[in-house]
Amino acid sequence: MPRKTVKKSSAAVTKVDKTQLQQMYTQMVRIREFEEAVKRTFIEHPGVIRGHAHLGDGAEASIVGALSTRRAADFVMPSYRCHGYPIVLGTPLRKMMAEVFGRKDGLCQGFGGSMHLADPSRHFPGTSGIIGQSIAHATGAALTAQVKKKGQIVYCFFGDGASKQGAFFESLNMAAVWKLPIVYVLENNQYQAYTHFSLEDANAMAGDPLSKKADAFSIPGTTVDGTDPVAVLKVVVKAADRARSGKGPSLVETRFYRLSAHGNVITVPPLPTQFPEHEAIAVYGNKKEFQQWKAKDPVARFRARLLKDRVLTEASANRIESGARAEVDDAVQFALASPAPAPEEALKYVFA
């Protein structure tokens, strides 16, 4: 039996205050609306998004739950599936969408795109598109935090696929040896690009949670229902406390389900690119699995729960949702209106 597996946040709602729950729902909805707008762009404005975009729908509870424990100066370092985090940190959606669209007013002036958002002003230093490598960078940010002694910690997010990379094992070992202030959030969205994690993970094959990997470094490892933001919060807050008190890293596996495909289809111009069906359906023909998880959609589930617990009313939930939609629509309009960068800008940021 998996140990330290937290299935539910029992009576959790009563312990996190109402305002915070409302804020958490708002952030989850903002992420969902943003990702859906990115996805729609492939149909409504074909050709505007180039390359590969990776969406975080399905991860909202994991992202928001984990970051609800964050203090303002903490570092947040995820992988290339990176839209959700700066949304929570308060990065303007206009600048984010303009970056996804490759525009001059983008967060990175069109130099990075969807996979490489960066907002160091909000302690979001940047992301790597090479799976697993950013785990080492996040661990480096934790070295900074430890040396500078300003009480900062690091939230490092990566997928189940990344947990098979050497960078994962090397980084967690070094973080444990150096007792670095970092929380590793292994977002098990169940698919490494196109392959189900049960086909490539030794722990999964043995019927163990992926958080068992923590045992290899003698650090705490916990698996939590990643569709429940309060459950995630309650586990991550312990890991964050441990990091803040100088005891070192923890590994938290948040288990949820990626609700979109790994990314848009890879096509060669001028063929238009779009989002394919989720791998469960497209690769494995398993529509049932997808629908079962879709029924556990973290945003819809949290909404229903907050309505039931009278944290939200139908009207206040609608207000949050229409507010997020308006914010995202505005971001799309802003991004579409933003000019392309001047070609000669391309040589601007090669060296500092």
Partner: protein
């Protein structure tokens, strides 16, 4: 004020001085600071001087992440080939973040490694891999050839806001030379004319600079005046100084410890062909390692690696070339 110092000590002097000057400089690597007796550890403490496990990907990646967030790490990698197990971090992570972020972040990390250890280390520990790092926009590569340059370039590398690969030829570790005391910076990206001459330019890299200077001395006895140019930095390469020297002398020999097609010499040959073709009175010559891995046994190793005699012969051959009438 200057004093005589060994090359290896000059590097250490720069690191110590920079760590004293800037509390953000940290230094870590495998098999260092293992005991309380370590002088660096005594001076700067366990926070800033650390022992790392054999984990190059994490060591370099942590250096990058720490650099992105406010430290100036120096990662001791010992041998340049050890970077190969973590080459994604060197090539495809460190130099990318500033650019991908639209100039918002910088990555002031120094990756320090020895290279070209031609002392019986055989096929995997004796190589020159700088060519693979020369063409990576955003990455700087320095290869000091004297104790003074070793100090000045290390200090400059630590202060630089870009990732810098600092490669020191292991064969020069015990070489002595005058080293300025106190703050001393050698600008990155600036070549140095180590010996002035008028008949032929020899551009040599790292350990080969000492071989080229010895060859120049010998050739002076034959009445051939050799100018020895030391690029010191391979990326960004000081093409201007090299080309101007070639234009003055009209002849050039490129000396590089790396194999021909993975040498810095090959890159310089291209630049010279484009920018100094009209000045050449003889075809350029490249003196590089032969196209073989580095062998273990000494006579085999000596056969593969360039030496003073091979340089002398190459210079004589370019001097003997009869220019074709225009």
């Amino acid at each position: 004020m200057a004093r005589e110092m060994m090359y290896g000590d000059a590097i250490a002097a720069a690191i110590i001085e920079e760590m004293q000057r800037d509390p953000n400089v940290v230094f870590y690597g495998q098999n260092m600071a293992m005991t309380e007796r370590d002088p660096m550890l005594k001076r700067f403490g366990k926070e800033r001087v650390r022992i790392a496990p054999i984990s190059e990907t994490a060591e370099i990646g942590i250096g990058i992440g720490a650099a992105m967030t406010g430290l100036r790490p120096i990662v001791e990698l010992w041998m340049s080939e050890f970077m190969l197990v973590a080459f994604d971090q060197v090539i495809n992570e460190a130099p990318r973040f500033r650019y991908m972020s639209g100039g918002q972040v910088s990555v002031p990390v120094v990756l320090k490694a020895g290279y070209g250890f031609c002392a019986g280390w055989a096929g995997q520990h004796s190589n020159c891999i700088y060519h693979t790092m020369m063409g990576i926009p955003g990455l700087k590569v320095v290869v000091p050839s004297t104790p003074a340059d070793a100090k000045g370039l290390m200090a400059a590398a630590i202060r630089d806001d870009n990732p810098v690969v600092y490669l020191h030829p292991y064969m020069l570790t015990l070489d002595k030379g005058e080293v300025p005391e106190g703050e001393y910076l050698v600008p990155i990206g600036v070549a140095d004319i180590k010996r002035s001459g008028s008949d032929v330019t020899v551009v040599a890299v790292g350990w080969m600079v000492t071989k080229a200077l010895a060859a120049a001395e010998k050739l002076a006895g034959e009445g051939i005046s050799v100018e020895v140019v030391d690029p010191r930095t391979l990326a960004p390469l000081d093409v201007k100084t090299i080309v101007e020297s070639v234009k003055r002398t009209g002849r050039v020999v490129l000396v590089d410890q790396a194999p021909r097609h993975s040498s810095a010499a090959a890159v310089m040959a291209g630049e010279i062909a484009e920018h100094a073709f009209g000045s050449l009175r003889a075809p350029l010559r490249m003196v590089t390692a032969l196209d073989a891995p580095i062998p273990y046994s000494e006579p085999l190793e000596n056969f593969v690696v360039p030496n003073e005699e091979k340089i002398v012969q190459a210079v004589r051959s370019v001097m003997a070339h009869k220019a074709v009438a225009a």
